[in-house]
Every structure is written in C-alpha cells, then in structure tokens.
C-alpha cells in the first residue's frame, strides 16, 4: 500500500480503493493526446484495471474527477466495453475465441477441454482465484485457429492436449 495523500484520501471508497498517484499521472498524461480529456476515459479504466485487476465502483468516481467529466459518462463507458471488468476476475484471464474460423476448426472441443481443465464456465473464476474464463470476438488469428488469449499472450492453433502445459505457465 502506498502512502495516502490528502488528494487521494478524498477519493477512497468504502472498499478501500485508492487511485495510485502514478495512475492518476498516467491518466492526465493520456488526456493530453486529445482535444478533450474525456477521450482518455477508456485508457483510464484500463490503467486502473492493470493495477487492480478490475474496476471497482469507487474507481469510476475517481476517474471522473481526474478527467473532469461526470461519473455517469465513465460508468457508461465502463459497462459498454467487453474488456473492462466490473467484477473481480482471477489473476489470469483466458479469452477464448468463438468466432467463425475457430468454430469451424475445433472451438467446441477446445472450449469443452477448458471447462474440464479449469472446472468453470464463461464468466466464472476458479476457487483459487487463478483463472477467469470469457469468450472473445475473433482474435484475428484465424490462420492459427482455434485461438485463445491468456492475459497478454495469443496462442493458436491450440489443441486440447496443449492446455495443461499452457495453463501451468500462469501460476
């Protein structure tokens, strides 16, 4: 936990969310790329998510304050984009592509193997908080279908047999 400054003290929420000063600075720097600071709202949500794993309610108000816009505008964006998580997720997020090329080359088998291996379905997190499983729209890796992402890494083609070894790399 970093030191609490008077500035951040005002935006500490009930669950103890604090906007890290470095994150606030990153948001302000990001806002300079645009005519209006609102344009940095998606990046601001991603900045919070990179540190916290997800975006708690209190972060919405904090971002709104930094960018000088209404919390409703930030919330509207936070609930629209699929890669912004408004609930806690596991330490690693598995995004499995279910679009046409993957569907035609073994997505069903891969999905079943993931469910079996992880013991969870879409939108769920393993009890040890290690993995969250989500579907994702075409990853643009169709010549490597079926494809999936684990955190920042894209894999494909992935066979069911590859999964245990792959998942092991994400403790």
């Amino acid at each position: 936990m970093m030191a609490t400054t008077p500035q951040t003290e005002r935006i500490i929420g009930s669950d103890g969310f604090q906007l890290h000063p470095a994150d606030e600075a990153a948001m302000r720097a990001e806002a300079h790329h645009y005519e209006q600071p609102q344009a940095a709202s998606i990046e601001a949500l991603k900045i919070v998510q990179r540190r916290h794993g997800w975006v708690p309610d209190e972060a919405i108000a904090a971002i709104a304050r930094v960018l000088g816009i209404g919390p409703g505008e930030v919330e509207g964006v936070a609930t629209f984009y699929s890669l912004i998580f408004r609930q806690p997720v596991g330490r690693h997020v598995v995004l499995v592509c279910d679009s046409s090329s993957c569907f035609l080359t073994g997505f069903d088998e891969l999905k079943q193997a993931l469910v079996r291996e992880l013991g969870i379905d879409y939108g769920e997190t393993t009890t040890d908080n290690r993995f969250t499983l989500l579907p994702v729209c075409c990853l643009g890796a169709c010549d490597g279908a079926p494809a999936l992402m684990i955190d920042d890494d894209t894999y494909g083609p992935v066979a069911a047999d590859d999964l245990p070894g792959l998942l092991e790399a994400y403790p």
Partner: protein, 452 residues
C-alpha cells in the same frame, strides 16, 4: 518456469505470417509486402529506409501540392480495404479543408475484428513504417493536424511495434514539426480500444475515440465534414493507407496494371483463407484473383473434406458456393453475386458441417456485438439466435424459417443507423437461399403436420 513449459508455450504462441517467401515478392508487384522478411522480424526504420522507405513522403511534400495526392489516388481508383470498397480518393476529395475550416484528423481504423480477418495485424506487426508513411500522405492531402491509430485492445504486439516505430519516425524527423523541411507539422498517437466489434464502424469508432460508448452516429454529416470533436476527419483501414505510398511513388497507371487485367479494380490485395484448409494463410495477390487460386495456395480442404460454401471476406459477407470459385474476387463482381468482397479473407465451410450450426454461431456473434442502439438489431438478432438454436436442435416450429426471412429483411440496409445489422442479415439471407432444406430439417415433424 521450467524449460519444457517455456518451449511448449513458444510452440503454440500465435505469430502473424505471410505464406510467400521474399523470392516471390518484388517492389513492382507486391507493394504491400515486398519489404517483409522471411524470418518474420519487424522491418524497423533503418531497413525500411534502405527499401525505399518514406520516399513517397519526400516526393509528395517536396512537390508541395496536396491536391495532387488526391488526384492520383482517384485516378488509381484505390478502393477501401476495410470491406466497403469506397474510393479512397473520392473520400479524401470530400474532406472539408481550407478557408476558416480548422485542421482535422486522420484516423486509421485498425480495429480488425471481422471474423475470419487477420491481415492488418501482419502489416502493423512486421512493417509499421508503411502505415505511418501512408498516414503522413493522408494527413498532408487532407490537411489533418493529428493522426490516431485506433487499435483493438487485444493487438498488444501491434501496439508495441507501432509505438516504437512512431518513436523512430519522430526521432528521424518523419513526424513532428516541419516534416522533412516541408513546413508541414503532423504527429500520430496509438489509441487502443477495449473490445466491441462495433468500434470498427467509422462513426462508432469516432465516438469511442472521444471516450464515449461506441454507438454509431447518423450520416450525414459524414466524418469528412464533421468527425472527431466536430472536425473534418478521415477514417481509413490499415491496408488502404498502406497502399498509398506506392501509388504516389509509382503512379496511377502502374497501380491499375497490378491487377493484370483480371478486373477493373487496380492494385494488389492481401487475400487469405481460414477454416478447415490444409494451410490457412495470407498472400499478397493481384486484385481479382479467384477463390480457386487462393484455395489451391492453401493446399485445398483439410483431409478429404469437400467444400460446401464460403464467405469471401468475413462474417458480414454473403455465402458463396463452390460454383463461384472461378469468379474474380473484386468488389463489383462479388457484389453482383449477392455477397460482398469484404476484407478478402475467405472462410470455408466443409460439407460435413451443418449450415444451421454455422449460422447460429455467426448470429450469436452479431447479437452479442450489437451496440443496442437500433431496435431491429438489438431485438432482432437475439430473436434470430433463438430461432436458429431451436432449428439446430430439431425443435423448430412451422413458420420459423419465414420468420427468419422477415427478421433478416428487417435488419437489412436502411433500417438501422449502421451496417452491423445488414452485415448480420447478408450471411443469413444467402444461407437461407442456398441451403433452405437444411433449415427445414430443423422443424419438428409434429409442427410440420400441424401446419398441414
């Protein structure tokens, strides 16, 4: 991490690649890819400059005639490679500029999310400077003050490569104030998204860039009149912008001749194929190549499977049949067959796959990715999914197929703000046309009897 896990991870790590060796590619015939390396490593600035890099910028900015760029582009008839096929030169000629008009923006649509499409990723990950070069020309022609590369959030490797290349270009004076001594100022930032297919629609993309929900805007005004923050804005796909430098360097006639008389459209195109083929991949080929030639390059269907149907350019294009394999794949020819060229990356459906299941998968995608702005799309697509799910399980009711016809018609062009719903309707309408019997088999016998 143990050695074995590390090597296993590497072996299944996805890498974008072109299935054409350097020996097959030349500057004269492969303007998009001739600089790419066989080892797949990034062509950074030093190597790019050795390979005619930024020559078009020196030429165009040296001439000092931005309108000449637009004229050349129009004459070459460079058509939008994002899927719509709209003339890039015409689009640029409609951008408001001059007089009291403030300088606007050039926005690169790098939100590649059309199912079955994996071409822009290659250009960005292995040859970032060609895109930057194209954007400088676009900015000069349209008097844009700043550029954004709107990149989908999942393309982390593209972001890393582009940001480093932008830094290289800035340091070398190809971006920033007074580019190459021309007096022209321009710079570019990478803007990364956070998911949602709809961001690829150009007006939704502008809303998203402004930090709003990615709902489409009504047109007119078109982005060229009033786009990002109300300023004239040009939105072009990655591949479209990558075509511009060679056109400016070599001229409209050279570009037209690239297609070798196969079609009225000029240029080359990144074509590809995915699905159950032996070697799914990507090639730079003359515009107007046939589906058969692409399929042959991919080694044909995987195993002994037979081709049943194919999408010529992504999920939002219409199904074609094996009998269409000898048509030149250009915008107008494919359009006449009730489909669209789209992104030019084929998806093949094998004979043993149920078209009802394929359609269910496609419509699940469109329903999930609808932004919810227009009723036919928001409500019609989930309804379509429900009907298809029932038909797939053999639990359809009499009248379901006619209802699918109606829902598809209600999602057609002109019923909604953007092309998302029409994109969902086109594969469904063509599947119902070519494979109606498969859908009919999903209606229960009881229901059929009751109808009689």
């Amino acid at each position: 991490m143990s050695q074995s896990i590390a090597s296993q991870r590497q072996s299944v790590r996805y890498r974008s690649r072109l299935l054409q060796p350097e020996s097959e590619r030349s500057a004269d015939t492969h303007p998009l890819t001739w600089r790419l390396r066989d080892d797949g490593e990034v062509v950074w600035l030093a190597e790019y400059l050795r390979k005619e890099g930024y020559d078009s910028v020196s030429k165009a900015l040296g001439n000092g005639d931005p309108k000449a760029i637009i004229a050349t582009l129009k004459e070459a008839n460079v058509r939008g490679r994002g899927g719509a096929g709209f003339s890039a030169g015409l689009k640029w000629s409609l951008t408001l500029q001059g007089g009291d008009m403030p300088r606007g923006y050039i926005i690169c649509n790098a939100d590649e999310m059309e199912p079955g499409t994996f071409k822009d990723r290659l250009l960005m990950e292995q040859q970032p400077h060609l895109l930057i070069e194209g954007m400088i020309l676009a900015a000069y022609a349209n008097n844009s003050r700043y550029g954004y590369i709107f990149l989908r959030g999942e393309y982390l490797e593209s972001a890393r490569v582009l940001n480093r290349a932008l830094e290289e270009a800035r340091e070398a004076g190809w971006l920033g104030p007074d580019i190459n001594g021309s007096g022209f100022d321009f710079d570019i930032a990478v803007h990364t998204g956070a998911g949602r297919y709809i961001c690829g629609e150009e007006t939704a993309l502008i809303n998203s860039l402004e930090g709003k929900r990615a709902n489409p805007r009504t047109k007119p005004p078109f982005p060229g009149q009033s786009g990002a923050w109300g300023k004239p804005s040009v939105v072009n796909n990655v591949e479209t912008l990558c075509n511009v430098p060679a056109v400016i360097l070599n001229g409209a006639d050279w570009y037209q001749a690239l297609s070798g008389g196969r079609t009225d459209d000029g240029g080359s195109k990144l074509y590809g194929v995915s699905g159950p083929v032996e070697k799914p991949g990507l090639w730079e080929l003359p515009m107007g190549i046939t589906g058969r030639e692409i399929l042959e390059r991919a080694g044909g269907m995987r195993g002994n499977r037979q081709l049943k149907a194919w999408l010529p350019g992504g999920a939002s294009t219409g199904f074609l049949l094996p009998e269409h394999l000898d048509l030149p794949l250009d915008f107008d020819t494919v359009g006449k067959e009730g489909s669209r060229l789209g992104t030019g990356l084929l998806t093949v459906v094998p004979q043993d796959k149920s078209m009802v299941a394929v359609m269910r998968n496609l419509e699940e995608f469109f329903a999930r990715e609808s932004c919810g702005w227009c009723t036919p799309c928001r409500d019609g697509l989930p309804w379509t999914v429900k009907l298809l799910q029932a038909l797939e399980l053999g639990q359809g009711e009499a009248g379901d197929i006619e209802l699918l016809d109606k829902l598809a018609a209600d999602c057609g062009p002109g019923q909604t703000f953007c092309a998302h719903a029409p994109g969902a309707a086109m594969p469904l309408q063509t599947a119902l046309k070519h494979f109606r019997h498969e859908f009919e088999q999903g209606v229960t016998a009881r229901s059929k009897a009751a109808e009689v």
